[in-house]
């Protein structure tokens, strides 16, 4: 049978329209970014609320000062946190909102045992122990009945503030004391770019350096996974409904395969295009602030990696769908294969810190992990300024492309015969036999 492009387009159109009209597609399209947004807001809000609550509540602290260095310190004071830095200049220009003041009351205790008894009895909230050798060791101990997994640095800030002020009281003027308190926050950190220039590494750039590779890598991995899942679902459903044998009179297996790849890949790409547009639009401000521009080459290469990566995984999904007897079984098998595509995220920190490390290079050349790995490397480089050798990109794309062609040839053979195998999933020797017969 000759290869008819109009038939391929007919199949692709039906697959695309059927998929994007499904309620689940619309739910996925809208729900996924909303879930991320909701989770982000919820998590941040809960942390902020917790911090605000802790910073607004008066705290009574049992003080055990064996060093005697703080004997003359005030027994009560009101701590006011410094103004939080903002990445947005418009935000910075706004009038300052009133910051809460945290009343702190110290109750001197003779020893640690008595202090801890008070803590157990609920009479104090914290116990601060300053040892007799504080000047040598520089260490203090803080006790609190706290069940949280993570503590925040802001929690002990009022106490650190009080310790510094009273340690320097009489030995430094108030300006020096204030500068000492803010020293950690006022240091400008410069790093050298690959071109030799020095650039300020600010919070915005640091956040972008993590978020941009994560977001672009995530989008690419998701688009490949989603496109592959649509293929798997479509093939499994058609196999279960036994509709294909009637169709194979009018279209060749290769036309059917090409139409499905095109239509369902487009559906996956539609999802990602919408998410990416929303993401880029909403993050445009922070990208501009961090002086990060997305090079067009990154987007073009991203699209190429999607295309070849999708063909590679799509062919695998088609084969799995054709060889298994139902969707449940197909989903179980495909789940393991999909892990290969997303496993570069497990080494993400390594990718971000050293995009040209042996691990990062190796994974971006290995076809199953190439697309996601290279996207992580490229987007990390877009922020840090590191250069990925073009031969690595060309080799990675080439290897992935050749692998995709091999997988498509295998997938086409398995699809041709596997679609007519009903009720039984063949084992590996049987699959090899099918490959030889096809």
């Amino acid at each position: 049978m000759t290869f008819s492009m109009p038939k391929v387009l007919t199949i692709a159109r039906r697959e695309y329209l059927t998929t994007v009209r499904r309620p689940m597609f619309v739910v996925t399209l809208l729900a996924t970014p909303m879930i991320f947004l909701f989770a982000g807001v919820l998590s941040t809000k809960s942390q902020v609320d917790d911090a605000v609550a802790r910073m607004s509540t008066a705290r009574v602290v049992a003080l055990v000062d064996s060093s005697g260095l703080f004997a003359d310190g005030p027994r009560s004071f009101e701590y006011q946190a410094p103004r939080a830095p903002t990445l947005d200049p418009r935000e910075a220009a706004k009038p300052e909102k009133p910051r809460p003041k945290v009343p702190v009351v110290f109750r001197p205790m003779a020893d640690q045992v008595a202090a801890l008894d008070s803590l157990e009895a609920g009479k104090v909230k914290q116990v601060l122990v300053v040892g007799s050798n504080f000047l040598e060791s520089g260490r203090v101990r803080l006790y609190e009945k706290d069940t949280r997994v993570f503590t925040q640095s802001a929690d002990d800030r009022p106490l650190r503030n009080w310790l510094v002020r009273n340690l320097l009281r009489g030995r430094a003027d108030s300006v020096r004391i204030e500068r000492t308190l803010l020293l950690g926050r006022s240091m400008d950190y410069f790093t050298q770019n690959p071109d030799g220039s020095w650039a300020l590494k600010d919070d915005a750039k640091e956040i972008t350096g993590f978020l941009l590779p994560f977001a672009l890598g995530f989008l690419l991995a998701m688009s490949i996974v989603i496109g592959g899942q649509y293929l798997l679902q479509g093939v499994s459903e058609e196999k279960e409904s036994r509709i294909l044998e009637s169709m194979l009179c009018s279209v060749s297996p290769d036309e059917l395969l090409a139409g499905k790849l095109l239509g369902l890949g487009s559906a996956g790409l539609t999802l990602v295009a919408v998410w990416a547009s929303v993401g880029i639009y909403s993050s445009a401000g922070i990208l501009a602030l961090a002086h990060v521009t997305l090079p067009p080459a990154l987007l073009i290469l991203g699209f190429l990696y999607f295309l070849v990566g999708y063909l590679f995984y799509g062919a695998i999904m088609l084969s799995v769908g054709a060889m298994t007897s139902n969707l449940r079984e197909a989903t179980q098998i495909s789940g393991y294969l999909t892990l290969l595509n997303v496993c570069p995220f497990w080494m993400m920190v390594k990718f971000l810190n050293a995009p040209n490390s042996a691990l990062a290079v190796g994974m971006s050349l290995f076809p199953p992990t190439a697309a996601t790995s290279m996207m992580l490397r490229m987007s990390a480089s877009a922020v840090s300024g590191a250069v990925i050798p073009p031969w690595q990109i060309a080799t990675s794309l080439g290897l992935l492309g050749v692998s995709a062609i091999i997988m498509l040839l295998i997938g086409s053979r398995l699809f041709r015969l596997g679609m007519l195998l009903y009720g039984k999933t063949p084992n590996l020797p049987e699959i090899l036999k099918i490959l030889r017969q096809a």
Binding site: E238, S241, R242, I243, E245, S246, M247, L248, C249, V251
Partner: protein
């Protein structure tokens, strides 16, 4: 004309279709018969180019069915399904488009077919909303749309009520009159007798029966006559046995006896004979006899068995 010549298909060293040869003419309804596992589906898949034969040729109007000039073919398999979550009209028109029809033509012919099969009022409903019988009719429509030159139907009457069976029979007659080549695979032998011009039966991959339906039945006739008469017939020369059956007598003649002579002898007895007609076995009986005989097993033969062979293995009455 569909021509199948010496086609062999082997799986795991076993010939599931073994040197099968037959023709189906344009405008003919041809029955492909055989028990389950006989090789019918494999043979059909080779005709539809879903699988390729190991050897032999399959052509339609002189062109290989796997080539660029392959005929427009429609196949309704026994195990069949439909897209469930799409409107009936869209589901049917899609099959038309896959047969290279324009979208407008596909929709136009879909509407005509849906009207013909009484589904026009359901055209905007989802396929899932149709009853099982309605879905059967829609599946038939997916095969009929595009007016294929070669129509292959596997158990097309299954699941249809008598009214819709009549509708389908009428459609098949129309298509035959228009020159469509129809290959019908069914276990409903009465439908084969009513609808089909010729038949091929295969068993375990081998051809065991092939020819005009009437001739096949005649071939298996056993020189037995149904006698409708008032009174009780007496034994006459040339008669092997006389057995009473419901409202008539079943008269078995000896091998070389002449029916006219036997009838004359019966009349000479003074018997009031109302009818004396040769009994031809129904195709179903022949099917059972051939399959139970196990003929077509790998005996290196591709032709049909003789009547003597059938009788030798216990098929004779």
């Amino acid at each position: 004309m569909l021509q199948v010549r010496d086609v062999i298909k082997t799986y795991d060293g076993r010939a599931v279709v073994n040197k099968v040869t037959f023709d189906v003419a344009a405008g003919e309804i041809f029955a492909l018969l055989g028990p389950n596992g006989a090789g019918k589906t494999t043979l059909i898949r080779m005709i539809t180019d879903i699988v390729r034969p190991d050897s032999g040729t399959i052509t339609f109007d002189g062109h290989a069915v796997s080539g660029a000039s392959r005929p427009s073919t429609a196949y309704l398999p026994e195990e069949r399904g439909l897209y469930k979550k799409v409107p009936v009209l869209d589901a049917l028109a899609y099959f038309g488009e896959l047969k290279s029809m324009s979208r407008a033509d596909a929709r136009r012919e879909s509407i005509t077919l849906l009207e013909e099969f009484g589904l026009a009022n359901w055209s905007r409903k989802n396929v899932a909303a149709l009853s099982k019988g309605m879905q059967q009719k829609l599946q038939l429509c997916t095969a009929l749309i595009g007016r294929p030159q070669l129509l292959i139907l596997d158990e097309p009457f299954s699941g249809l009520d008598p009214i819709n069976v009549a509708v389908l029979e009428n459609v098949l007659r129309q298509r035959r009159a228009e020159g469509t080549t129809v290959l019908l695979s069914t276990h409903q032998m009465n439908k084969v007798e009513q609808q089909c011009d010729r038949a091929l039966m295969i068993n375990r991959g081998h051809m065991v029966l092939y020819g005009r339906v009437g001739e096949i039945r005649q071939q298996y006739a056993e020189n037995t006559y149904a006698l409708h008469a008032d009174g009780t017939p007496q034994r006459v020369p040339g008669v092997k046995s006389v057995v009473s059956e419901n409202d008539h007598w079943r008269v078995a003649l000896e091998k070389n006896a002449h029916p006219a002579a036997v009838l004359k002898a019966l009349l000479d007895q003074g018997l009031a004979v109302r009818a004396f007609t040769p009994e031809v076995p129904p195709l179903e009986d022949i099917f059972v006899r051939v399959v139970e005989a196990g003929l077509g097993l790998d005996q290196g033969r591709s032709g049909p068995p003789t009547v003597d062979e059938l009788q030798d293995v216990g098929g004779a009455r």
